[in-house]
Amino acid sequence: MSCDEKTCEFFEPGHRACGGCGPALAARLITRATGENTIIVASTGCMEVFSTPYPETAWKTPWIHSLFQNAAAVASGVEASIKRQGRDEKVVVIAGDGATFDIGILCISGAFERGHDITYICYDNEAYMNTGIQRSGATPYDASTTTSPAGKYSTGNQRPKKDLPAILAAHGSPYVATTSIATPKDLMDKVTRAINTEGPCYIQVHTPCCTGWGFDGAKTMEIGKMALDCGLWANFEMVDGEIVKSRKVKRVPVEDYLKSQKRFRHLFKPQPNEAEIAKIQAIADRNAEKYGIDIKPKK
């Protein structure tokens, strides 16, 4: 099938994502960047379920799903096979954060250590959304999920996000980047760069989930931008393990971002929990330092 000349879209309408779905937008933007000569390997997850109820597939490029945790291994096999056949399709994994940060990390570690020429893209909606919003290793500090509920003795998820970009960079990945559906051009540019970089590359896309995080689907991009603006999400690039570029922002405090989502609502009821908000602010501050995202005032 050739590229639709007018739109070059490889993700079709009719899929069953929630209105305003961040991952659906990510799927669309990723496939625009990867183009027709790409084989997509998917993990089990929300995106897999909303896009491929038999016989309705939303994917116009070759696509394969096997299990929750084995996308990186399946991709290894696809890559080995097409290499052996002398074919030139790009092999791109698209998997959720649960499949990536938690259950699939063994397969990912193996695939990255072996150096397969694949691009692994994690759509990070910061919890297990397919099964009903349970915490994952990507869930941010203090977010309330169904397995890390805020309660009388808890302020929600008690651990910060796992630093997966650093872990995969430490595997010797030539190109690791983070991006967001709130920055579509950045997302597509990074995907393009990754698929054209030899070796195992990793991209983590921030994909706000209106249902899981508790906000109106019209605000999916807005929430993404707020995460960038407060520093709880940073867009950066790592080449051969070094951070080489990051998206600069004039940072704002984290409160507005937290207030915008039900998963953080407990931090403001009955009155703002200053101590916890300060801890989250500290996470943003550390991100800002680590990734160099602050716009420095001109001297």
Partner: protein, 86 residues
């Protein structure tokens, strides 16, 4: 329809699922305000807005779920979400 071996399928059937019926609010476009920036086209998670012959956005309401993302992101406030008349 015979089953395809191994639960595989060729593209094309997703369009059988007309998600437009999910819609509660409908985006209405004020083309007077539109500057043809293409933001709404680019960011629609349903891939159901395309350019018309003059470069203006054209919604395929068969699939628009009425999420309002386009209206929220439109830099010219040219899109208004109106309650669907049923």
């Amino acid at each position: 329809m015979a089953l395809n071996v191994g639960c595989a399928a060729a593209p094309g059937k997703a369009r059988d699922n007309k998600t437009g019926s999910w819609r509660v609010f409908k985006p209405e476009f004020d083309l007077e305000k539109c500057n043809k920036c293409g933001t709404c086209i680019m960011i629609c998670p349903e891939v159901c807005i395309e350019e018309d012959e003059e470069g203006y956005p054209k919604v395929d309401y068969d699939f628009c779920k009425g999420c309002g993302l386009c209206a929220n992101e439109c830099p010219k406030d040219a899109i208004e979400m109106k309650q669907e008349e049923k």
